[in-house]
């Protein structure tokens, strides 16, 4: 899947904004948003928040988890844990990217948040590579991938399933030749 499609999916997540206009509830197909009251926070999907922000109709409030200190704690935890820790959002990377891109003036500490998220991503990706390596070497047939987020799964998509498919082909191919061989030698 294209990374922008993963981003597309993440844009459905909700974020709080403070609008600078007032408007009644809007009935969208995907659910209602609003009512908007100037100065009062309201939750909207990210795609809408980004659009309103671009038109300077709102201020975006940081996601609760997008806080440099708690992200740094999460980073330490990620370092210590052998397994993947649970991320605050299934789309943490995309959400951070989208919101920091468009609203870095609304988010204090944007640089520290960016660094922390990038660090977490790097730690997790290197962990992922190590575990994929171990998994393939152990010739596993099934793996549990709890707490891996959408973008992380997508980043190994071209490689991992394909490698497993090829291994299976080699194995079944090998078995077929073997049985063929033992069949003719009798």
């Amino acid at each position: 899947m294209d990374p922008c499609e993963v981003e597309f999916l993440s844009e459905k997540e909700l974020v709080s904004i403070v609008p600078n206009f007032s408007f009644d509830t809007i009935h969208l197909i995907s659910g209602s948003v609003g009512p908007f009251r100037a100065g009062l926070p309201v939750k909207v999907p990210i795609w809408l928040a980004v659009n309103l922000k671009q038109q300077q109709k709102c201020r975006i409030i940081n996601q609760d988890w997008m806080d440099a200190d708690s992200l740094n704690e999460a980073k330490e935890e990620e370092k210590l844990s052998k397994l993947f820790t649970k991320m605050p959002s299934n789309h943490y990377m995309e959400e951070a990217q989208l919101l920091l891109n468009v609203a870095s003036d609304d988010i204090s500490d944007a640089d520290r948040i960016k660094t922390a998220i990038k660090d977490i991503w790097d730690i997790r990706m290197s962990k992922l590579r190590t575990s994929i390596d171990a998994f393939l070497k152990s010739e596993g047939l099934h793996a549990k991938l709890d707490h891996l987020t959408a973008m992380e799964i997508n980043s190994v998509r071209p490689l991992l399933p394909h490698a497993l498919d090829q291994m299976l082909r080699i194995q079944t191919g090998g078995r077929a030749t073997q049985s063929h061989y033992s069949g003719t030698s009798q």
Binding site: H27, G31, S32, L48, A143, D165
Partner: protein
């Protein structure tokens, strides 16, 4: 412009019970169907019920939007949302067409064994598949086959059949709790899926669960 969130449709459940569904839940179901179709190696049973319902919603919404003032804030927001929904629907339909073009012969022969209630293709898709196959046959014949020696002139359907690799590995998330899935290729290894847990496994082990909606591909 009111009440769009509450427009309902009826869907027939397994038990023939009529269930009320909101536009919102139809949209979620389409998104799930889209991702399943994208990641499943084989073609899945069609969800034209969902697509038709959503297209109806879109038309309805577009009608309403005509009544809005050009400056209205809602116009822009609704238009953006519709664009997002249309993207999902077209991408979903396109994913199916790609599979139909790739596995035409296989899909048609499978489809022939299914009754009209349980067929995987919609009427239009079936027609497309048949025409596509007829056109390919025509192409082969006019370009090459007719110039071959007599015994090579037949269009051999069997040798041209491409089958999807059902043993392909897929990522999935469980919707329900599922016990005792036998891992293909192992002796008798069984796994249980907890709701919300994520796995990578051969598609063949979970094909039925994908179709029943007990798991979704991610």
């Amino acid at each position: 412009m009111e009440d769009n969130g509450d427009v309902t449709m009826t869907a027939e459940d397994d038990g023939q019970e009529e269930e009320e569904v909101t536009a919102q839940s139809v949209l979620l179901a389409i998104e799930e169907a889209w991702l399943n179709e994208k990641f499943a190696p084989e073609i899945l049973p069609h969800r034209s019920d969902l697509v038709d319902c959503m297209l109806q919603q879109i038309t309805h919404m577009e009608e309403n939007m005509k009544r809005l003032d050009k400056e209205d804030l809602r116009l822009m927001i609704h238009r953006m949302e519709l664009d997002r929904i249309k993207y999902v629907i077209t991408n979903y339909l396109r994913a199916r067409l790609e599979k139909i073009e790739k596995y035409t012969i296989h899909i048609l022969s499978q489809e022939a064994t299914r009754s009209s209630e349980e067929c995987y293709l919609t009427v239009a898709e079936l027609q497309f598949a048949k025409e596509f196959l007829a056109n390919i046959e025509m192409l082969f014949k006019t370009i090459a086959l007719q110039h071959m020696p007599g015994n090579f002139q037949t269009f051999e359907v069997d040798t041209l059949t491409v089958k999807p690799n059902l043993q392909a590995y897929v990522f999935l998330r469980a919707n329900d709790r599922i016990n005792g899935i036998i891992v293909p290729g192992s002796m008798d290894e069984e796994i249980d899926l907890e709701p919300g847990s994520q796995h990578i496994i051969q598609y063949s082990a979970v094909a039925d669960l994908v179709k029943s909606g007990a798991v979704k591909l991610i």
